[in-house]
Amino acid sequence: MAIKSLLIVNRGEIAIRIARTCKKMGIETWGIKTSNEPRAHYLSHMDKIYDMSDEFSDVLVFLDVERLITIVEETGVDAVHPGYGFLSENAYFAQRCVIAGVKFIGPTPDAIHKMGNKTVARQIATKNNIPLASGTTHSIRDAEEAKEIADKIGYPVIIKAASGGGGRGMRIIHKAEELAQMFRLATNEAEKAFNDPSVFIEKYIQNPKHIEFQILADKFGNTIHLGERECSIQRKHQKLLEEAPSPALTEELRKTMGEIAIKISQAVKYESAGTVEFLLDQSNNFYFMEMNTRIQVEHPVTEFITGLDLIEQQIRIAQGEELKLKQEDVKLNGWAIECRINAEDVQAGFSPYLGTIEKMVQPTGDNIRVDSGIVEGDTISPNFDSMVAKLIVWGADRNEAIRETKKALAKFWIKGLKTTIPFFKIVLENESFRCGTFNTGFIENELESMHDTSEEEEALAAWFAALKYAEEREKEETNQVDFEQGKNINPWVLNKRLKSF
């Protein structure tokens, strides 16, 4: 059944990204106007708007299943696209959509559930002989049990939230003494973030590479992969820069890992687009980490090198179409790099930087793509993530891609906010990044400074500060302080004022 109208249960750049494909496919889009950002830019890309900006609630609507289902019913859409984050990997929401008779753009609730619970996913992987880091396939009761297991598999170990993702509820333990406290922190965080305190333990692979495979699968069991993405430039498990393909993979390794990725997808009868994440250690051993059952933030790098529109693929699969593409048709062409330009203060440990974008000039070009949900005058508020834009650049090979990314970053002009741009400038200059040997320890081990500075730029800044100071002093010296006006008092008040003394 063809989808004619679609509700986008998301905001920001991904809402715009989805709307773009819908427009191309002739699908009517619905966006949701919230009280948090009633003037948000993404709304201008929607065909129709469901306005609930006069509703104030403690829970953001994009997380409120019941409210969303009423919106689905009221708007009468054929399908729902959850984007990433929010309810994109919530099996209950997917189930409710199915019950409400609309298509949920994504895998089946069952597949979401199986892959969403990391312990279940580990059990499935074990059953299918997928390589895994040693550890538990069940959730841990308490710190004592955690210690028992950790002692057995050897330190360092990592505690992860069973329902987790995106780095939350994750703690690395190097020594037995740290275990009790870290266990508590991880469960606390997991409980808060996912409403589920259960955690499991696995062997911590030191400084691996983070490699993920893009999967496409239809309802008929056809499953292919679109090559990998290299996502090792991370800070506290938050990806900052991604590229495709990975400089670390040989054709042979790509084939092996891709087949494993397909195998685990098929094990849960996966359909739609999905991502299988692996850790790759220094001896090229790889371990299944988790499967993300949604479209990824970094999907554009894969789109650039495959020429595919992944959102379109998701929608076609949801409509019940059969994948036209066979594995042997997938050709990876050139190299793509994505930089996540976030409003963060790199000098203050990447802390969110709240403020208003005064000016933004984006680089343009045939091989440059900027996905952004923000325009000049918009404010980065603490309500949402701090992403300003994604800059994706394509080159014929890795060197060209790096070179072109550097040029594009130099042209990316943002005023009013601190962003991660200076960070990317220094990453792209880094030797270990350039030769491709970097891993997830990159930021801690390879970068001496988190941002790019030059003596020249500091001198320019000093000149500017001194200029401002000189101007202010000048102004204070020459300011016309008009004392006469102060003496010019209306007799009405002056007489009474004098009398009252």
């Binding site: 995106g166 780095g167 939350r168 406290q181 922190l185 606390n188 965080e189 808060k192 973030a193 506290k236 203060d345 000098q347 203050a348 440990g349 990447f350 802390s351 969110p352 709240l354 005064e358 000016k359 000039v361 603490p382 002009w413 943002i414 005023k415 009013g416 601190k418 962003t419 741009i421 200076p422 941002h451 790019d452 500075t453 003596e455 020249e456 730029e457 500091e458 001198a459 320019l460 800044a461 000093a462 000149w463 500017f464 500060a465 001194a466 200029l467 401002k468 100071y469 000189a470 002093r473």
Partner: protein
Amino acid sequence: MKLGWSSKKELKKLIAVNPGRKKFEFPLPFTDELKVNGKTSEITLKTDDKFGTYLLYKGKKFPVELLYKNQNRYEVLLNGVSYFFTIETPTSYKRMKFLSSKSDGNKNENLEAPMPGKIVELLTEEGREVRAGEPLLILEAMKMQNEIQAPISGKVKKIHVKTGQNVLKDDLMVEIHAGK
């Protein structure tokens, strides 16, 4: 009678000093020339509709803005990077050098919130001895619980925050007294 023994001195130059005590000197009245590594080039401050305010130097544009100013302390954001300076006159610069030469180092370390967030858990108490690197509290921010560690070894002098409290960046959280 008039105080005639000297007259108010003209300010001849300004000195921008960075936190590492590196100094940048600028003669007054202010010129549009900047000397870096012995070479002098022209520098101009411009504003237009497309780019906002920027510095034009050697044919290149540098986005610039004043992020913070208090008394003679300035924070400038140039090309996405923050630079901190105090602007000194020759007299105040001399004083600063003199006072720093005889200061006995910071005895107290003030631990300020590195980012806005919420205090989830306090792991220490007033009067307790702490080692550098020891976790003091958990600050929830950026979707993460962040462990805030003691920057120096010493004694926890005062805790300014409570569990559950929201803090903004640079809010004072814990004071640590170095040594005994």
